[in-house]
Symmetry: C2
């Protein structure tokens, strides 16, 4: 099944204790696509400026990613700069230049509107609602968001939440969204708002999947050398949605496996700057690490 | 198989967002004993002051815990006071009055010296070495320690580490002990110093077991309402060593299961102040939650 993703496309300048990469392709839509395309065809909606060099994302086209929904607008591509500390859970944003992304209006080509799987990456909930109105009859809608929208566009975000099947948040976001410090209680509140599944990302500590009638908790795959955590969350989402798009039925067990695939793909993504590692590997390497992850966690 | 534990016995005054308990029994030796005694007989070595009311730990005697190795010294019992913040991963120590514990000299009764399992709770490594010299032919020695000894008695601690089979640390401690920020690399260094197994406790994020030829990572059991985290680490150790003491062979799989039992017992311990919850439950309730934990983590 095809997956639609709507999100940001950026040129990231990232410094970590292991080095620096300047103006490398990034953004939620691209990280998601790179990860999900190991599993299923992906169609991307996003915007770049005239300065964007499409040759750097050529590998996505080869991997069944449809880039025809990326519009080139007059101006510069969204740029983000960040620096990770020695403890790579901490990062400082050095700059955020929205550029053409500031006035992003997602236009969903007609051949995109029948995608069965939809990933709404972290963008303005008003735009997320516009996207949903265009979709014909999606099987599964998965939402990501961030504290900026939780604080600034709460009503609109709540309307999106009512319409989605799965919401992916980190532990801070779910606390802020529900006003409940206890994660188990916060999850209970959120599942009453509409989504049938909630995924809580905990970075190096793994992820939890809380569903109406299931509960799953998984550690992260133990990465020996984390080089750059940028994009880990969107790579997780890509592995997660990508795997579900291959399933004939969306059972609880398949949702659990999807979390494990999400963890697995994210574990590769952080082993290099930008998409470098995701470009090097293939589906077979993901499968090997997934099986290893299974072995690491079962008893 | 019987387990020997040598550690602190304290009267804790703890404030959490859920209430306050004053001068409740605590300390590493008692938390460990309360947890391990669900599985195997435990023999305790420790010291209390003349003010200690043994009736508050009567329940331990009923649970096959031998308290005859606890000496009553002239003076007051070790007292600790702490306050947990809203985020219960953060706590402030309000006071530490070592009292009789300051001059603790562990004396191992002769009928204790043949215990096959030994847990060296967090005390001065010089004393831990004295204990080891008294033991006849232990099957498994498990060590806990803390940053205070890592910084202050490094040479003595290294000598203990050389002599033990398993070391239990938290993520901060292993970084400080090895000087290596990356946990996977730190584990590799530590396993070259002597222990065959390393357990890294990560609190609400679970635990990792890194052995010479095995790797296991587990999330924590999802506790709905954490009332007081004091003693969670020693309860984990109690469940861990307690389960191993029931095994006819110390296989990698049994070590994995021991981590899961440690997680399970700790999840009960934090549901009340002091040992209250551990007094209420029985082995059957531990088994039910262990099976639930298994169900929560497998895919």
């Amino acid at each position: 099944m095809s997956i639609l993703v709507v999100g940001s496309i950026a040129l990231d300048t990232v410094e970590t204790p292991f080095g620096k990469a300047s103006d490398s392709p990034g953004g939620s839509a691209l990280f998601f696509s790179a990860a999900a395309s190991f599993f299923a065809p992906v169609k991307v909606v996003g915007v770049v400026g005239e300065d964007f060099d499409f040759s750097v994302i050529n590998f996505l086209t080869k991997k069944r990613v449809d880039l025809s929904g990326i519009r080139v607008e007059h101006g510069q591509t969204f740029r983000w700069g960040g620096r990770y500390q020695q403890d790579m859970n901490m990062r400082d944003t050095l700059y955020t230049h929205l550029n053409v992304f500031e006035s992003f209006q997602p236009i969903i080509p007609s051949h995109y509107q029948t995608c069965k799987f939809v990933f709404l990456a972290n963008i303005d909930p008003v735009l997320q609602l516009q996207v949903l109105r265009k979709m014909v009859s999606p099987t599964l809608i998965v939402l990501d968001t961030m504290n900026f929208w939780i604080a600034g566009k709460r009503l609109e975000l709540m309307e999106v939440i009512r319409q989605v099947d799965v919401i992916i948040l980190n532990d801070e976001e779910i606390k802020e969204l529900t006003g409940q410090y206890n994660i188990q209680k916060a999850a209970h509140i959120l599942l009453q708002w509409g989504p049938r599944h909630l995924v809580i990302k905990k970075g190096e500590h793994g992820a939890m999947l809380i569903s109406e009638n299931d509960y799953f908790t998984a550690p992260a795959y133990p990465v020996i050398e984390v080089i750059d955590p940028t994009g880990a969350g969107d790579s997780f989402a890509g592995g997660f949605v990508g795997y579900l798009a291959t399933c004939s039925r969306l059972t609880n067990l398949n949702f659990r496996k999807a979390v494990a695939y999400g963890n697995t793909v994210a574990s590769f993504a952080v082993e290099s700057f930008s998409f470098k590692r995701l470009q090097e590997i293939d589906r077979r390497q993901i499968e090997l690490r997934y099986q290893q992850f299974r072995k690491f966690t079962h008893f």
